[in-house]
Amino acid sequence: MSPTNGLAYTTGASRSNMFRLQVDELLQQIRPRRGKREDAAEKALHALKAALDESTAKPALSIDEAERELLRNKIAIPFPQPRPPDDAKYKLEFAKPANVNVVGSYAMQTISRSRDDLVIDMTVAMPSSLFHEKDYLNYRYFYKRAYYLACLASTLREAATPCNVRFDDFHGDPLKPILVISKSVKSIVSEELKPSPKWRINIIPCTDSVVFPAEKLTSEKNCVRPTHNAKPEPTPFYNSSLRADMLMLSYLRLLHGAETSCAAFKDACLLGSTWLRQRGFGSHIAGGGFGHFEWATFVALLLQGGGPNGKSILSEGYSSYQLFKGTLQVLAVRDLGKQPIVVGSGTFKSVANGSPMLWDSARVHNVLYKVAPWGYARLRQDAKTTIAMLGDQLFDGFDATFVLRTDDALMRFDCVVSVPASALTVVDDGRPAYRTLYDVLSRGLGDRVSQISIRPPESGAWDVDSSRPRDHVQASVIIGLIYDPDTVNRTVDHGPSAESKAEAASFRKFWGEKAEMRRFKDGSILESLVWGASGKTIVEQIVRYLLERHFSDRVEREATFFGGGFNRLLRGSLSVSAFQPIMDSFKQLETDIRGLDGLPLSIRQIMPASAQLRYATIQPSAGVANGRQSIPADVTIQFEGSVRWPDDLVAIQRTKLAFLLKLSELLQEAHDQPKTRIGLENHEQDIFNQAYLDIMYESGTSFRMRVYHDREQTLLERQMRDKSLAPSAKEAAALGLAAYKRLYLKAPPHTQAVARLCSRYPALSGTIRLLKKWFASHLLANHVGEEVIELMAARIFVQPWPWQTPSSVQTGFLRTLHWLARWDWRTDPLIVDLSGSGELRIPDVDAIKTRFEAWRKLDPSLTRIVLFAASNIDKEGTTWSDGRPQKVVARRMTALAKAACAEVEQNGLQVDPASLFSSPVSDFDFVLHLHPSMTGGKRSKDAARYKNLELAALSDQTLVGFEPTQSLLEELESLYGSALLFFSGSSERPVIAGLWSPQTAPRAWKVNLAYSTIPHKKSKTQEVQAVVNREAMLAEIARVGRDLVGRVEINDR
């Protein structure tokens, strides 16, 4: 393809080029190809056809006779429930098939190669002579069909085909059993060494389209007459299921027609089925009833009509991608439950039960008859999400559309409930009471959830000689809930007013004794529900109550809730309210300072610059109450400009100190409350910030204030460029500039942006905290900057594809890990729009990418910048990750994320959340087990013995900000430089682990080695080698740590 052709193809937008090229590549990969598997399957197909053509008619038998006859051949007739009555007047017959056809995706060459098993559908048309006029009533057609199928099985058994023949329900529809032919088990065993190509052939009985009159089988008709004198209800599923059997060949023709008239049809089907598969949809009822066949038919019908005035919605000239997107657009925009699409002319009546309708007038059939309202809601939501991400101009949505799987329940749903299938009763229509379950849950949960999904258990195939298995005892229905984070934890539900009698009665009927009449503050008297604070979440309380009331005690008892474990990993509340004390305290601080008289310069602004002030620390701000001393939260203060500032870096630092002294003095004079003191830092570099002011409130919150002076930047830049200075001074200026930018220019806007996002997305704060806990638990806390972690978590919220914005901590956390496991940081920058409202524009993204590529060109071995994390407020991308983490650490991070995702995938719902947070320390060379009383995290039992002493220590405000283990870690890092790599568990794990860097490998002895050595001479002729003196270094570390280190553990390998 020449570039200009390509351009025409994508109609200009340069961003879609990438997408287009990747789609082409994908299509090449998934188009069917002939291989061994196909050859083997086709050989079997021919054998089957030959066997079926040989079959001979059998005389009509009564049901009893037929069953006995076939049992002699060891075949049980797979009658649907309810069984045919023993006194039935009609007889069962078998005749040679009218025709045998290969249909479906295999015949159309649209079967995607990515599938594990090759599945071929083969229809066997039952001659219409077998059926009587009224056979569409009361399952009679299905009984005869079952008998016919059993006879086919018998024929195949007689023909002794070397295959394994079993019964199964066609797409989970219990009315329609089929035969599944697979390679016989014996031959698989004999070829054990070489796994045989996997294939499966479905033999589907169908019949002629004129056997029964179409108008008798429209969805509002009743075809299962009630036994008593009850009013006949419509049986839409039964009718359509029967009708589908009659239309098998008709749809085959439709698809073939579409394929010949529209060149891109096949590719559109491939794309569609890939998209569906990645989202867990399938033709099977458990898969939502919308699979490859439905997709292809949908597209084919939209090519014919469906639009206003009978015009077609899609055009035959569209490219495959346009067809794909157009179809999704229809799915997303139009609610087919309320506003069915009608293709062709003709009248139809819809049953207003919320099930979607795609009415094919020519064939008098609703193509979507299998799609239940919940499946449809999910489908529509996914279509909407996909349309949104395809429209996202900033980022390439290809992976999210076609590559990522989104059907993992824990990652998809905020809450997953499993209910035993056997406990739900079966209704007349032939299907269990999922509908009732859905209706009850929808009404009961109301706006607390945005989606309810029900996944029935998948029925398995069974042997032809045994009867249809009863619902498996252990099989369970999986209910998935997606929360609305704003309303999910509401404790009081308002029902209808007491005056509207009918509604109130219905409310009472639905809720039973849980409904209470209450008078509210505004004077209204409403029916209402009050949910208490038991150990369970409110959603769990509601679901359990509803299951018990509308189903049975047993359902309630056996219902299992999954996914709550992640929330329990964090102590205290998950919402931003946990940070309210420090937020209030910050406001107080601002008022206190702004209220001061007598400051030499007026204040321009006071800015928060700490994770505590953006709802992002593992534990909410620790005051005395939390049992450990608080760590002061960073804030910056900027004064109005003045010409009296000195124009010298060192003098500026002293002037700042003078300002802080004045501020401290004024604060002490004006108020009784915050205690203040001035601390010193950066002792070795006099151009860095030298002093800060610690302000401590009695509530236990504390702040660390530094003065922001904008002239510093210019001076630092000048010093950096000054050629007359020594390299060390220039380097110091560069470091100083980086620190200056982080502290004064980047941290405050970052803090504000993250705080804003946290209040917009209720689950974000918890996700960040859990993610930080994860990093700390794996001893990566001192390597991956907390701002980088925040960016990772925020990314999942502002750019959630292929999901919607997470509405719980669990989904937020798992999806972040999922993304982290796949993040190829070598070649992809992390770019996050922290504004969450499109402040990041395409030119910005391009500029960031250019910068990223420049870094990679400059430093291809990733010695300095490994993770590149940019946002709309930090386009440099290196602010938080310059020099840290190193490549080896980043690689470990990815490996750990991968292992965590594998754990989730492997164990599914049963996954133990805590297992994601533990990794063995045996991976490290040595481990310093810190003395428990020193880590500040968990308190040991001994310490709790003298409560008064402990409280005295805690109320000692001079210890605010005292973190001995953190100091030890920093000191060790500076003493050993790059010879040793330390890993800290921070507050989560009381250990510091270490690795010997490869640069400590033996080498020629010299003076300036950055680690302790042993001279080593192997022979007289050899040069003296310097070998790292590990024992001595560990002894030194133990001396420096003294009482902080409880034990040094060495892992030999």
Partner: protein, 325 residues
């Protein structure tokens, strides 16, 4: 529990030497190798042997003191002057030490007040001659550590009282090695030094918050000196403006700070000018302009497409074929 596998690729690593005692040579290049025994500690219960390298100091530019100096390499990280004094005085023949200079020790603790004019009234002693003087300076901030630690593998220069002592020290060290004498690090000075561990960090924490009055004093002193220095600088500059040198030329010097345009102001003006120039003629006024613009756009698209294609190819190379999960 699940494992994640080794963190570092260890193909380059070599196992520790098994019989290091016998393999350690008595000297490396011209350094003597002196084994020091580290006593066991509660958390690390085995003794370890550290190797200190010594030789007579031989800097590229010798000073008068050089003959009585000894150069140490691989100094233990917790070494102090007390340690070194005790090592030579008590365990190695009793040579007496004048002072120990550790590598990277912070001269003047890093806070060097700018060079003040010689006429500055507040100056207690003149420092013009040697700017990096280690002496007490004006306006220093208080020290925040009670004891310095040194980077691993670092060096130090030990100045003995005289050359004889230095020679004695080296001789004693050689003899100790020959006799395989067991020299214990830090023996005899227990309790004489500020402790390490949590006490060290607690002390540091306390020292980091000095008394406000002290700080105020220090700042005041510094600022006065600084002001004086600025004034002197300005005066010196002004003098230079008018003083001809030996050949009768007046050196052109940077003017006073006030008069000099700041870089950023200049840049801003330039930017303004460019903007004004740009807005003079509309860029889509002539036909050729439109044509060229369109051409450039098309070129950009083609380039973008090529770029994308390259990127996809790159992706394929890296990740293999695109396949749905």
């Amino acid at each position: 529990m699940w494992c994640s596998g080794p963190i570092l690729d260890r193909t380059t690593m070599v196992p520790m030497p098994g019989n290091k005692k016998t393999a350690v040579p008595p000297a490396v290049n011209d350094f003597i190798v002196l084994p020091l025994q580290y006593p066991a500690t509660p958390s690390y219960t085995q003794t370890a042997t550290h190797h200190l390298y010594l030789r007579a100091n031989a800097p590229k530019v010798p000073t008068d003191d050089t003959p009585r100096e000894v150069f140490l390499v691989n100094v233990p990280i917790d070494a102090t002057e007390t340690h070194i004094r005790s090592l030579f005085a008590d365990q190695l023949g009793g040579a007496r030490i004048e002072r120990v200079d550790f590598e990277g020790a912070r001269v003047g603790k890093g806070i060097t007040a700018p060079v003040a004019p010689s006429r500055g009234k507040k100056r207690k002693r003149s420092q013009i001659e040697n700017g990096e003087d280690a002496g007490k300076e004006v306006g220093l901030l208080p020290d925040v550590w009670d004891r310095e630690l040194h980077r691993s593998g670092g060096t130090a220069v030990v100045t003995f009282v005289d050359k004889a002592s230095a020679d004695l020290a080296l001789r004693e060290a050689r003899r100790a090695i020959r006799e395989k004498r067991n020299i214990i690090w830090g023996a005899g000075i227990e309790g004489k030094l500020p402790p390490l561990g949590s006490a060290r960090y607690l002390a540091h924490h306390k020292l980091s918050y000095p008394d406000h009055a002290t700080l105020q004093n220090s700042v005041d002193e510094f600022m006065t000196a600084f002001a004086a220095q600025e004034a002197a600088k300005a005066k010196a500059l002004a003098r230079q403006h008018s003083v001809p040198d030996a050949d009768g030329f007046i050196t052109v010097t940077r003017g006073a700070r006030v008069g000099l345009a700041r870089d950023e102001d200049v840049k801003m003006k330039e930017e303004d000018l460019r903007k004004r120039e740009k807005s003079k003629v509309n860029e889509d006024f002539y036909r050729f302009q439109n044509r060229e613009r369109r051409k450039a756009e098309a070129g950009k698209l083609v380039k973008g497409f090529e770029e994308d294609r390259r990127r996809v190819e790159e992706m394929r190379r890296r990740r293999g074929k695109i396949r749905p999960d």
